[in-house]
Amino acid sequence: MSEPIIYVEQLRKSYGSVEALRGVSFQVQEGEVFGLLGPNGAGKTTTVEILEGMRTADAGQARVCGLDPRRGGVAFQQQIGAVLQQTALPDKLRVGEAVELFARLYGRRRDLGALLERLGLADKQHAFYNTLSGGQRQRLALALALVHEPRVLFLDEPTAGLDPQVRREIYEIIEELRREGKTILLTTHYIEEAERLCDRVAIMDYGKLIALGTPAELRQRSSNTTRITVRLKEPIEDGRLRQLDGVVDCRPILDGYLLHSQRPPQTLVALVKQLEALGNELQSLEISAPTLEDVFIELTGRSLRD
């Protein structure tokens, strides 16, 4: 295997008494889309910002393209592009001007029109930044990250706060970059995003990496359980459902309950009997393979949105 393009070894970082990173290690190969999945406060952004050179680790090692992010200088900056989580541009800067400005700062003269076209911003190039929608701002952030054709792209929560339609548009752009062989490290707390976009996913919680593998490998870890989503006519104590045969976990969801069962047939029989005894009715039932969310729940005992 070739030298990893991103190398992270035993990274530690504290903010006062809070340990944000507690010995995080992973490697990313060139051309790979690598995801850091975890809830808010898991340490994803701290990890990415150390790799971008914006923060200094208290201990451990981080290298990107063979360079130390804190000491790599302009040579390092030319290698990486980033979509930051909390950032903005001046209100009265036009889209076209912003892209041209960043291209000049990096000393690159590429076809900026084609870049805007590709990101669906061609008709917005004369628009001021403060008139753009959330999705357009995020596409502009991607354009600025790509303007100097970096080898590695860091995307910190690239679709956070966007509506599903816009989120899908961003997914398509990332998938296109993936096809081009761009190395991408993205952080997310959306399961769908990690499963759809990432070649490998590292699950983080409380500053530690608790699982690492391809989405399929991680799902296999949870292969001994099956998701059963039920919607009932009347609400029921979830404690009763937890006691059903084969059920290892039960959580109320928006309009029903999510059960994890190790013996689905027995669970279903027990469920029907229970409902009959209570005079309740089953309105819908879905059986599906486990997702990364299930893996996260198994590993941490919490859901990503807790």
Binding site: M54, Y106, L144
Partner: protein
């Protein structure tokens, strides 16, 4: 240099699209000019000429307001952190602030010269090269003070409080509003410690007295030293992120900007030349123009 110029063009573009900038950097100085010339000088050319350096000083000193607010706003909104990942370092960002401010202040200054000449008939502009030098030093130095203010504050509110305090001192105790000769002696002596006084004095002596710059060494040293120190320290204390704390040592470093002015203030008070010369200039103008009141 290329990066600085690229950022300078962006800053100028943004400033010209900002109505607040146009108000404070163009309309307000012109309004001050008309106020001084029509109300205080009653349109008398010699008195307008006497008060004109004060108007120019106010135009130039205003630089620190806009730059400090803009830099803090950029940091608060996360704009600076986006530039942090680019090859544009703090030096280029700060230098572009000074350069864009300089280029954008010049048209207002030129317009003020045109107005005092055409509207009020002022024809004597003393040592114009010297005036140009003091205007340049003033614009750059006071803008650099703005960068120091931004390095010491984290929010717009804090910046406005600090700006108000500094502006109050500069406005009322430097001779920019009321000529120094009207102040009691102890206040005149204190005013010699203010950077703004060196600018006002420099402009008065070159514009009214037509003095060569070589006789204004103290004022040149004060503005060059103070401005240079302010720029270097603002670079050293530059913060990209709003949550980056301001250390005590940073505050101590920022206070070092006052050192040249403290030393020169002690020197001026010891030799006591400028105060006497300012009295003489005032008298020479007063003998030939009626609106000037008796200072004591």
């Amino acid at each position: 240099m290329r990066t600085t110029w690229t950022l300078t063009k962006m800053r100028m573009r943004l400033a010209l699209r900002n109505r607040a900038f146009l108000f404070f950097s163009l309309l307000m100085p012109i309004a001050f000019l008309f106020l001084y010339a029509s109300l205080f000088a009653k349109g008398e050319p010699r008195v307008v000429g006497y008060l004109f350096p004060s108007v120019l000083a106010l135009t130039v000193m205003g630089s620190f307001w806009g730059l400090s607010i803009q830099l803090v706003l950029f940091r608060e909104h996360g704009i600076l952190r986006r530039f942090r990942l680019t090859p544009a370092g703090p030096g280029a960002l700060l230098a572009s602030s000074l350069l864009s401010n300089y280029i954008l202040t010049l048209p207002t200054v030129v317009l003020e010269f045109v107005l005092v000449r055409t509207v009020y008939g002022v024809t004597m502009f003393g040592n114009l090269w010297g005036v140009g030098l003091f205007l340049t030093l003033g614009i750059v130095t006071f803008a650099a003070f703005g960068l120091i203010v931004a390095s010491l504050t984290s929010t717009i509110q804090e910046t406005q409080v600090l700006n108000n305090a500094i502006w109050f001192l500069f406005l009322f105790f430097s001779g920019a509003t009321l000529p120094l000769v009207f102040f009691p002696e102890w206040l005149q002596r204190l005013s010699m410690f203010l950077p703004a006084t060196h600018l006002v004095v420099g402009l008065q002596f070159t514009l009214i007295g037509a003095l060569p710059v070589r006789l204004l060494g103290t004022e040149v040293i004060a503005l060059v030293g103070g401005g240079g120190l302010a720029f270097v320290l603002s670079w050293k204390l530059f913060r990209w992120e709003p949550e980056e704390k301001i250390s005590r040592s940073a505050k101590a470093w920022a206070a070092a900007v006052a050192i040249p002015f403290l030393l020169l203030g002690v020197w001026e008070n010891a030799v006591n030349v400028r105060r006497t010369e300012l009295q003489e200039i005032y008298k020479s103008v007063g003998e030939r123009a009626s609106p000037l009141p008796n200072p004591h």
